[in-house]
């Protein structure tokens, strides 16, 4: 089903806002991680863990799910399709991968945030435990999101075998319609 131009523009706007917002939220998350890793103040590290949990659940997850949903609607409602072009296919696979890792990993962040919030330890070294894992996850996540962004902007050429078959079908249909059209 093809969307009307106005609906397509609205969905594209929402998709861009969510996708770019997702990248921004991950950068904010990385900022917290780096700040905590470099801080000597226990309160700062504790606050960073709590802020990371909040940023993850209330900014990154909603934006990721919204980007995935609007992307699906946009591809299925336009000529691009979901499986016709390699760049769309890669975008889908990477987005699902990034969202899955995010949802699997955030409970761990919540557990860490809960522990550091309850403890009255002032040992900065102990409070920093697990931050290297956060740097890895958020860093790889940001890299994946930037790759998705580049794919979406450049749209490199390449039809999948399914996309090629659909294109051939559409061409045949166009030829048939033209050949039976009255003069």
């Amino acid at each position: 089903m093809r969307m009307s131009p106005s609906l397509r523009t609205f969905t594209l706007t929402a998709h861009l806002a969510c996708s770019v917002g997702w990248i921004g939220a991950v950068i904010a998350y990385l900022t917290l991680v780096v700040a905590a890793m470099n801080s000597q103040d226990a309160q700062t590290v504790r606050a960073a863990w709590i802020a990371m949990e909040l940023t993850g659940w209330y900014a990154i997850v909603p934006l990721a799910l919204a980007a995935l949903l609007t992307g699906l609607v946009l591809s299925l409602g336009t000529k691009w399709g979901l499986f016709r072009h390699y760049w769309v296919l890669f975008t889908l696979v990477l987005t699902v991968f990034a969202t899955t890792i995010l949802l699997l990993h955030l409970p761990t962040v919540s557990a860490f945030a809960g522990i550091v919030a309850e403890t009255d330890s002032t040992d900065v070294g102990r409070l920093r435990g697990g931050l290297s894992g956060e740097l890895f996850h958020a860093g790889v996540g940001l890299l994946v999101l930037l790759v998705i962004h580049i794919l979406n902007v450049y749209k490199p050429r390449g039809l999948t075998p399914y996309g090629w078959r659909k294109q051939q079908e559409e061409r045949r249909n166009q030829h048939e319609q033209q050949s039976v059209a009255p003069l």
């Binding site: 691009w80 860490f112 550091v116 330890s121 390449g158 090629w164």
Partner: protein, 61 residues
């Protein structure tokens, strides 16, 4: 989304572009690497390393 590539009309599908092969290889390696790191717990932030040092310092019952 303004420039759709029209493939030449042949009887067989066009060859897979080189960028797709390279890209797919990189994606597979990254996914496998992340998966192995998570399963083994040897990597940065895998399940095995998801234990806060604070937990170790808590008194045992």
């Amino acid at each position: 989304m303004s420039h759709t590539h029209i493939e030449p009309d042949h009887n067989s599908p066009p060859a897979t572009p080189l960028w797709v092969k390279v890209f797919a290889s990189i994606v597979i390696v990254v996914v496998l690497l992340v998966g192995i790191l998570h399963v083994t717990g040897n990597g940065l932030g895998g399940p095995g390393s998801h234990t806060s040092p604070i937990e170790h310092s808590m008194p045992q019952p």
